[in-house]
Structure formats: C-alpha cells, structure tokens
C-alpha cells in the first residue's frame, strides 16, 4: 500500500505542475490583464501604469513570473489578491464555507435520492417508474441550470413567496433557520442535475450486477429478496460508484458557477467569475490549484476506499 501511495503522490505532483503551467499560460493569454482595471481611472497616466506594472512584477518575462509564483506556492504563499490586497488564502477562506454548505447539502440529497432511483429503475426495468426516471433525468440534464434556477425563483420566491430569491442570509437575521431558508432553493436546483447523473450511473451499475450468477445463487439459497437486493446486488453495485463519488469531490469546494450566480450565493463559483473579470491572477490561480488538488485527492481517496472495500484488491 505504501509504495502505491508514494507512487500516486509523485504522479499527482507532476500533474499539478503541468496543470499550473497550462493555467498560468492561458490566463496570461487573455487580453486586458490586471492593469486594465486601473487604466479605467481617468487620473492614471501611462507612467503611473508603468510603475504599477513594475511594482506588481508584471514587466518580467512570463517564465520568470511563473517560476516566482510556483516557488512561493511551494512555500505555502498563495500570493495576494490584486483586487483587495488580502492574501489569496484569506479570500478563498471567505467563500469556501458558503460553497461547502450549498454543494454538501445538494450532494447529500442527490446521492441519497439518485441511488434509490437508480436501484429501483434497475429492479423495475422498463416499468413506468423506470421510463419516468429516464425521461426525467434526460430533461434535467438537457435543460440548463440557470433556467431551472430562474423558474424556481419566479415560482417559489416571487409568486409564492416561500423562499428568498437569493443570498445566503438576510442581514439582521443570521440564525441557523435563516441560513437553511436561503439554502433550500439553490440546493434543490443543483440537486436536479446531480440526481440525474447519479441515478443513471447507479441504474447501470445495478443492472451490471443484477444478472450475475451469485445473485441467482443467493436466491437459490432461499435468501429473502430484500437481503438479496441490499447485500448482494447493491453491495457490489456501489463499488464503481465510489470512484464516481471521488470524482465529484472537488465540486464540493470548487462550487457551481451558474447556480451561485443565479442565486447570488457568495461561494467559490462567484469568486472565480469575479476574479476572472478583474484579471485577479493570484486568486484565479489559487482557485485553479485548489480544484486540481481536490480532483487528484478525490481520485486518490476513491482508489483507497475501493481497495479497502474490495477484498480482491485489498488482499491481492
């Protein structure tokens, strides 16, 4: 296990370097650059801009800028935001909780419901339920999230007035209930897509297992149908789902661009969009690296969990 882990960590490190180089290059290819914000100020002269450029180190060749950034990164210095001068880690820290709450609740809902729909769709294949779930998943996947978001705001916030139309809390009312009230609508809208994805995968995984011989063996032993399903079918069908869950882990903290924007949710997705439009390189790079690390970590954790759960890997 240890050699496997060391090997994977080494590979991950190389991958992170590649990702950062690509990210850094593309970011600098975007026209405008961080100084365009300052240039809007009528009081700015060309000489001022030039001085700013030198202060920020932007006049150096790109490879040098990258090496400088990478060197600091390796030492735990993520840089400071161009926008408000705060350290990048602090900026991210301000937004990460909001995203975690939103994505965490939506994923918990969608994994629970998606797993159930998937299993039932597989055991009642080609039934009315299965067809409805299939069509529903296709609809949820093909209609853009912002549409669902806007429609739900229109119905539940504007017309019915059950939920607030956006934001994470109402100023002056920062109780847990207040937060929950704000959370419900965006979380459900996000879940729509996740339930669709998760249920489709779960259905396929269950169908892969349900016709296997050992399921028939269990029935031939006289095992109750419920146990056949839960222990023998679902137990095996969940194995590939662990990998899928690992791949979804980064979303937990990197946020949902569209949903956060529609619901003016102060999360990581919004931060990314705002930082991008300000050409706030340090923050964008920080977000990029964070989601790359989480992706690699998610995959690694999934592989470790699978190898712990599956005796064929654990003991081989």
């Amino acid at each position: 296990m240890l050699p496997f882990l060391l090997n994977r960590l080494w590979q991950s490190f190389i991958l992170l370097i590649i990702v950062s180089i690509i990210g850094f290059t593309i970011l600098n290819l975007i026209p405008g650059g961080p100084l365009s914000q300052y240039a809007l100020d009528p009081g700015m002269t060309a000489a001022d801009l030039e001085r700013l450029k030198e202060q920020m180190g932007l006049n150096r060749p790109l490879p040098i800028q990258y090496l400088d950034w990478a060197w600091r990164m390796l030492h735990g210095d993520w840089g400071t935001s161009y926008r408000d001068g705060a350290p990048v880690t602090e900026v991210i820290g301000r937004h990460i909780f909001a995203t975690f709450i939103l994505m965490g609740s939506s994923m918990a809902i969608s994994i629970a419901i998606g797993t159930w729909i998937g299993i039932r769709g597989a055991t009642h294949r080609y039934s009315l339920f299965d067809y409805t779930a299939t069509v529903g998943a296709m609809v949820a996947l093909s209609i853009p999230t912002f549409w669902f978001g806007l429609v739900s705001i229109y119905i539940f916030a504007l017309k019915l007035g059950w939920f607030p139309a956006g934001n994470m809390y109402t100023i002056g009312d920062e109780t847990v209930l207040g937060y929950l009230h704000h959370l419900i609508l965006p979380s459900l809208v996000l879940s729509l897509v996740h339930v669709a994805v998760w249920s489709r995968y779960m259905r396929t995984a269950t169908l892969d297992v349900i016709h296997q011989d050992f399921v028939k063996t269990a029935r031939a032993k006289g095992v109750r149908e419920k146990r056949v399903l839960m222990k023998h079918v679902v137990g095996n069908a969940l194995l590939p789902m662990i990998t899928l869950a690992g791949m979804q882990l980064p979303q937990l903290l990197s946020g949902a661009l569209v949903t956060e924007t529609v619901f003016t949710w102060p999360g990581m997705g919004r931060l990314f969009l705002d930082s991008l439009s300000y050409s706030d390189y340090p923050v964008v790079m920080g977000l990029l690296m964070l989601s790359a690390i989480l992706t690699l970590l998610g995959n690694l954790i999934a592989d470790i969990v699978v190898s712990m759960v599956d005796p064929r890997i654990r003991l081989a």
Binding site: P3, D213, A220, R227, P311
Partner: protein
C-alpha cells in the same frame, strides 16, 4: 414427438415429479416454448441426468423447479411436484423457504457463482441464517464442518477466505457445501463440471456421487456430456429443442438408445482413439515448424517496490511439426498451452528460444519484419461469438485481411465465395452478419477467414470447446478434410483429450509450462509414460468402460 411409452400417474414415491410441463417463451423468440409437455420423475436416492445440447431447455427446467424462472417465462401448462407439493400453488414466501431447505442448486460457473465481496464462510452461514436455523456459533461450526465434508483443506482458514483466492474446483466445492448446509433431499446440479479441468471434473463428480450416496440424496444432474452421464447417472432424460425424446435407466439409454437423436448424440461424443491417425502424405521430412526452448514469462507489479509477480507460462518447450500433420497440445488451465499458441503466431513476444517456420527463425523478428509472413500462419479462435466483429458482414470479415495484404477485392470476393462453400456454408452468407449464424456456423466462418490467406500453418486454440458435441464432431471433420486437401499443418490446442485424440498425429502434454510428454495417440492414451499423463487420461469421463 413426445416419447411417453406409458403416461404414468403422479409418482407418489418420487422425490420430484414434473408433469406435462410447458414453459412459454416471450414472442419473437426462435420457438414458442422453452420446454413443451415434458414429464419425468426423480427417484429418491438416485441421480437423474438431463442431457441435451444448448437450447434444449434443460437449464430452464432446473430453474422452473427452483421457482427461479425469469419474469418473461411462465409455466403455461403442467405442474412440478416436490414430494407431493405442487410448487405453483406455493406463495413466494413458501417457495423461498423451500429453496435451500428442501431443494438446493449448484451452477455451472463457479467463478461467478459466489459473491466476490463476502467470505466463503459468510456465504455458507447465509443459507442457515436465511432459514433461521441455529445460533450464530452453531452456524459457524456447521459451516466449518461442511467445508471439511466437501474435502477442502484447512476448513477454518478456508472459512475466512474470499472466493477470488480459490481455484475453480475449490469454489465448486464451496458451492456444494452451501447446497448441503440444510441437508436438502434434492440437489439440482446445472452443468457443475463443465467449466472445470478434466482432473478437477473427475474429483467433483466423485464428490457429488459420494455425498449423494452417503446422504441418500436425490440428484438432478444437468449436462451436455454423455461421458459424464456414463460416469454418474442412474436414470437419463434426453432433451431436444424443449422436448423429451427419450428417457430410461442409464444403462439402457447408453447401450441401446432407440431415438435417432440420442443415437446421434452418443455417436458424436468424442472417444479416445487409441489408434494413430493414418498420416497424410507428408510432402517432405523437413519440419515446417521447429520450436526450440521456447520461453515466456509474464511479469506484473513493480520490481522496484517489491510487488513483482512472475508467472512462467512457457518454460523451454521444444517440438517439431511436419508439413500436413497435426500436433495436439493438451493440458489443464494454466498449463501454458494458450500462451504457446499465441507465441507461435507472434501475438505475444517470446522471452527466449527459437521458432523456425519454414527454416527461418521468426522469434526475434520485429512486427514489421514478420508481417509479410503473417498470412502463412493463421489462427482459429475459441469463442465463435466474440471473435467475429458484429458490425461487419461475413464478406467484409473474410476479405479485409487479404485486401490489406494487397489482393484485389474482386479476387478476394471470388475466393471468399468458394471458401464459404468449402467450409459448408451457403455463399449467400457473404452479405449477412455474424449474429444471423449459430455457434457452429460462426466457427466455420472463423475457419474460412483463416483459410483466405492459404496458410501453411493453422493454430487452433480451443476451437471446438464452446460448441455442442454434435457440432464439434462436424468441425473436426471439416478441419480434417481441409488438411487432407490443402496439406496445411496444424497446432491444435485443447483441454479435451478426447478431441485431441481424434485429430492429432502427435500429442504434446503440457503441465506448468513444460511439455511433460510427447508422442502419438497410441502412446499417450494406451501407454502413457509420465504420471501426469496417466492422471489426465484416467480422469476422462465415461472412458473406463471403453478402456
């Protein structure tokens, strides 16, 4: 035509009675019934063999008895009695209770019949807990006892093992232990030895016979192999296309079958031919293939991290093959016979040794150097279903190779049409797709495909193993005829010694990567020199009487 000499009343003393059973198939299938109007009795304390080829309805009958029919198939007529209880009258809970307690079942493929995530012990215990038998401790000690009873070594260690650690034979023993847990009166065995090596098959057959005798169980044993029938059956039911064509006691059916289909099946069973094959006219005494010290080692894992695993698949094999002759390569799974076949056609690279094909050593050649020679060495594969591209027509499958080697399409087509007739197919097959053909017909396509190149050497890897016996006999005949007509040499790899005895001029017996004995069939079967060959020959089912 149902053969029912005197339609018997319900056998009061039968352990299991099937009466006029008809199972409907969903519409759009080849035929409307999976089985039609079948009746038979299982005499208590006896072994009843149901024999038939694929599609005869034998397995579906077993599933019907267990109450485990797929949703699309229903009992449309007739009844099944376990003792005196009619199973259609039972509610699902009663049926569930019957399974495992009164009737239990073992399956064909021991590799997939056990849950990979549960220990062997837990899976045996599950039978008892499902029926609420015993306390936790009692169940566990009973499971260990059962593991011992079916002859597994170190039962307490075995109890904690996961299935992937066990060999096929061991897993089938676990299945049997599971089936015996509640001492059911009836055991249904659905081709339990088909997926096993011949020596393992012999052991499992002995075990089943032994247990049946000791516990006075009644056994329904489903098989396609008359050799197995001769070995264990008290009574026999012969099925063809969902109907029973003949039934009676084993001796009578085997020795004096009256139905043509039974006769045909028995005649098709390959028997050991102790005689050597009349050699084809050898065009020269120079071997077409000369193999010296061939070595193949598989490595997995990483040497750096100390997880490397080394499997010596072929360890120094040497043999000669004369033009127009057939070398049979036999051995159990893991003996290295398939690796050797792949080495000969250079689908994998060897790690040492020489392969002289028509005088040139092809072993060290690069893929590019070897490509011009490829047409001369062709392979026929095992699985007639997986080895043909389902989206290509037979015509495309046959012509794509020669065209890639520079033949014009019109010429390739003309040859393909001629070859289709040659291998016994209609030339109209040219424009059809693989799924329109049966297993035997597909294997003919596979042979035609190999012959398109006018090869000098054919390597056939288990090429008849997936086929029914009667089809097997036809394909062997076809290969024999082709060899006589074209003088092609053949390396015929098989796990079935009976098949090898029929087609080979010489047989090489492989064990753990080595050729342990080589000689003409007369030597291998009548006067084996090595202990391992003797063991293999003794394990062949149904041959004791003949020997």
């Amino acid at each position: 035509m149902t053969i029912e000499p005197n339609p018997r009343p319900l056998g009061q003393d039968a352990a299991l009675s099937v009466r006029n059973l008809t199972l409907n198939l969903p519409e759009g299938m080849e035929r409307s019934h999976a089985v039609s109007q079948i009746s038979f009795d299982l005499v208590p304390g006896k072994i009843l063999c149901i024999i038939g080829e694929s599609g005869s309805g034998k397995s579906i009958t077993a599933n019907a008895i267990m109450g485990l029919l797929p949703f699309s198939i229903r009992i449309s007529e007739g009844s099944i009695y376990v003792g005196t209880t009619e199973i259609q009258s039972m509610n699902p809970a009663a049926l569930r209770d019957m399974r495992g307690r009164k009737v239990s079942m073992i399956f064909q493929d021991p590799l997939s019949a056990l849950n990979p995530l549960m220990t062997v012990g837990d899976q045996i215990v599950e039978v008892m807990s499902a029926h609420g038998v015993g306390t936790k401790a009692e169940r566990k000690s009973r499971a260990v006892e059962l593991l011992k009873e079916v002859g597994l070594p170190e039962p307490t260690t075995m109890y904690r093992q996961y299935p992937f650690r066990l060999s096929g034979g061991q897993r089938q023993r676990v299945m049997i232990a599971m089936a015996l847990a509640l001492e059911p009166g009836i055991l249904i065995a659905d081709e339990p030895t088909t997926a096993l090596d011949v020596t393992t098959q012999a052991q499992i057959l002995t075990l089943i016979k032994d247990i049946q005798h000791r516990k006075n169980m009644s056994v329904v044993f489903i098989t396609h192999d008359f050799g197995v029938v001769a070995e264990i059956a008290d009574n026999v039911v012969v099925m063809e296309k969902g109907k029973i064509v003949e039934q009676g006691d084993a001796d009578t059916v085997l020795k004096t079958p009256f139905h043509p289909y039974t006769k045909h099946l028995i005649a098709a069973v390959p028997h050991i031919i102790g005689q050597d094959r009349t050699p084809h006219v050898a065009r020269s005494d120079t071997p077409i293939l000369r193999v010296r010290n061939l070595v193949k080692t598989y490595r997995s894992g990483s040497r750096m991290f100390g997880t490397e695993r080394v499997v010596k698949a072929v360890q120094g094999a040497s043999f000669d093959l004369l033009p127009g002759r057939t070398l049979g390569v036999v051995g159990e799974s893991g003996s290295g016979k398939s690796s050797m076949g792949r080495l000969l056609v250079k689908l994998i690279e060897s790690d040492g040794g020489e392969i002289f094909f028509e005088g040139t050593d092809i072993a060290p050649m690069s893929e590019a150097e070897f490509r011009p020679l490829r047409p001369r060495i062709q392979m026929i594969f095992q699985d007639p279903f997986a080895s043909l591209n389902p989206r290509s027509t037979i015509g495309q499958i046959l012509t794509v190779g020669p065209c890639a080697h520079g033949m014009s399409f019109s010429k390739a087509k003309a040859e393909a049409l001629a070859l289709l007739t040659e291998v016994g197919l209609d030339p109209g097959a040219f424009d059809r797709y693989p799924h329109e053909f049966s297993g035997g017909q597909r294997q003919r396509v596979g042979i035609a495909r190999a012959l398109m190149f006018k090869p000098r050497l054919l390597v056939a890897d288990e090429s008849v193993s997936a086929l029914d016996v009667s089809i097997q006999a036809q394909i062997l005949e076809l290969l024999d005829r082709i060899q006589r007509e074209t003088g092609v040499s053949m390396v015929f790899i098989t796990h079935d010694l009976r098949v090898a005895s029929q087609i080979s001029d010489e047989i090489a017996v492989m064990q753990k990567g080595r050729i342990v004995e080589m000689g003409p069939p007369s030597q291998i079967f009548l006067n084996p020199q090595s202990d391992y060959t003797r063991e293999l020959v003794a394990a062949i089912p149904g041959e004791k009487a003949a020997a």
